[in-house]
Amino acid sequence: MDKLEVKVEINAEVFRGTLSELERLAARVTAELRAELGITPVVRLVEPSSLPVSEGKAQRVIDRRNQG
């Protein structure tokens, strides 16, 4: 079965310093994406600058369905 993994960078605007708030944030992102897409993604919280920047040929969607 296909899986969708979504990485979310945590910056100072959303970080209040507690684990419980991060858990709530991950749950909220999961719920909103599920409502929008109809599938339940795996949401991973990552550090800033973990994801490709928007300049150049940034690859933000990686399709691994044909990689076994």
């Binding site: 945590i10 910056n11 100072a12 970080f15 209040r16 310093g17 507690t18 684990l19 419980s20 991060l22 858990e23 991973r44 919280l45 990552v46 550090e47 800033p48 600058s49 973990s50």
Partner: protein, 142 residues
């Protein structure tokens, strides 16, 4: 009250070390810390001797950092010392978001760092029960 820094971290080998390295190189001393993790990520809480400098250093290293005011209460380092402090807050229905302890060098007392939801009220309640709370200045000179 004191200033506590909280750092968001991915749960991977070497992450904590990279923070202690950055602070060590900047000459910042860590007076107390606590780490809580939830699977793939965690939050490192730090009491530093110079919180503003620590904040600046961590931001320069691109960490996500939050600055919170916490209560730092002195208790006696003996059986029941922590219980008396927590019973005081429980009696006033004050919830603790999290807490950790620091045993002091002198061996007779300990400091408890409390991250509470109702901060000013918690401070007032503890003071009214005769507990000594550390100021920012006292905290940095522990």
């Amino acid at each position: 009250m004191g200033v506590q820094l909280a750092v968001f971290l991915e749960n991977r080998p070497g992450k904590l070390e990279s923070i202690t390295k950055a602070l060590a190189e900047a000459g910042v001393n860590i007076r107390g810390f606590a780490m809580a993790s939830e699977g793939e990520f965690g939050v490192l809480k730090i009491l530093a001797d110079d919180p503003e400098k620590a904040l600046q250093v961590l931001r320069e290293h691109h960490y996500t950092v939050s600055r919170r005011t916490v209560v730092v209460a002195m208790i006696e380092d003996r059986p029941g010392g922590l219980h008396e402090l927590l019973a005081t807050l429980a009696a006033e229905n004050i919830n603790i978001e999290d807490c950790y302890g620091i045993a002091l060098e002198e061996g007779h007392r300990a400091a408890v760092v409390l991250d509470v939801e109702r901060f000013p009220e918690a401070e007032a309640v503890l003071k009214s029960h005769g507990l000594r709370l550390l100021s920012d200045r006292e905290l940095t000179s522990l």
